[in-house]
């Protein structure tokens, strides 16, 4: 004789569907947030190298502004490199908006400083120091911004 217990259907082992569903909802919500927030581009070694290479080049150029003659060729070369770095960042699209805007501000600062040398003449030691401090800080901010981005693992 079969017992009453045996007559009852055995429960089918099930995964805790409620929990799975909750996580899936959470994932969907976060994915939606991801597209809304527009996560930034990943850390880019080329950007880091471009910026760290260009910073000392322009700082050395500023040292020459304390002398009589202005090296137009060096200024043109620095301007071209800055433009190339800007185009590289712009090419990454809207997700790289912040870095692109930083590069725009850096270019504007550089042009302002060049204009100051052209109009105002030879830079005094205090002026060289002040201009170099601000330009170096601008580069440092762009470099630090690249560093806070996540690695694409």
């Amino acid at each position: 004789m079969r017992s009453m217990e045996c007559d009852q259907p055995r429960p089918i082992p099930r995964k805790p569907t409620t929990l799975v569903a909750a996580f899936l909802y959470l994932f969907l919500a976060l994915s939606a947030c991801a597209s809304f927030l527009g996560f930034p581009t990943y850390y880019d070694q080329t950007t880091y190298k471009n910026l760290t290479d260009l910073k000392p080049e322009i700082l050395f150029l500023y040292d020459t502004f304390a002398t009589d003659s202005m090296d137009e060729a060096k200024i043109a070369a620095a301007r071209l490199k800055l433009a190339q770095v800007y185009e590289y960042e712009k090419g990454k699209g809207e997700k790289n908006r912040e870095t692109r805007e930083q590069l725009e501000l850096l270019q504007q600062m550089f042009e302002r400083h060049i204009g100051d040398r052209v109009k105002g003449g030879i830079w005094t030691p205090a002026h060289v120091r002040n201009q170099k401090t601000n330009l170096a800080e601008a580069f440092d901010l762009a470099i630090a911004t690249e560093r806070v981005k996540n690695q694409n693992e």
Binding site: A34, T99, E101, K149
Partner: protein
């Protein structure tokens, strides 16, 4: 004791300069007391530039240029903060995907 730049502004005959003196002092003190290192540095630089202007070490045009630089550096700092916030959220999403969805939920 009054700072060099304060004496400089006091000696200006321009009434507008005298009127902004207190606001300027407050601005410099607030930035120098700020807990954020970036803001502190800008406050220190502003005071340095004002003292250099008072000493005649820099021109009015150069001073204007430095203040414009500070404005643009502040804009750059805000872009950096924006990226840092977004990158932090990105790490959270990545962590949840990797650890929770692919790891924990798959193990259940």
């Amino acid at each position: 004791m009054r700072a060099k730049w304060e004496e400089f502004i006091d000696n200006l005959q321009d009434e507008a300069a005298t009127l902004i003196k207190d606001d300027l002092r407050t601005l410099i003190l607030h930035t120098q007391d700020d807990s954020n290192a970036f803001v502190q540095r800008q406050g220190d630089k502003l005071e340095l530039y004002l003292n250099q202007l008072a000493d005649g070490a820099i021109t009015k045009e150069q001073f204007e240029g430095y203040v414009t630089d500070i404005r643009d550096l502040t804009k750059m700092q805000s872009r950096k903060m924006s990226v840092a916030g977004k990158a932090s959220a990105q790490r959270l999403v990545k962590g949840i995907t990797k650890l929770v969805i692919k790891g924990l939920v798959a193990a259940l």
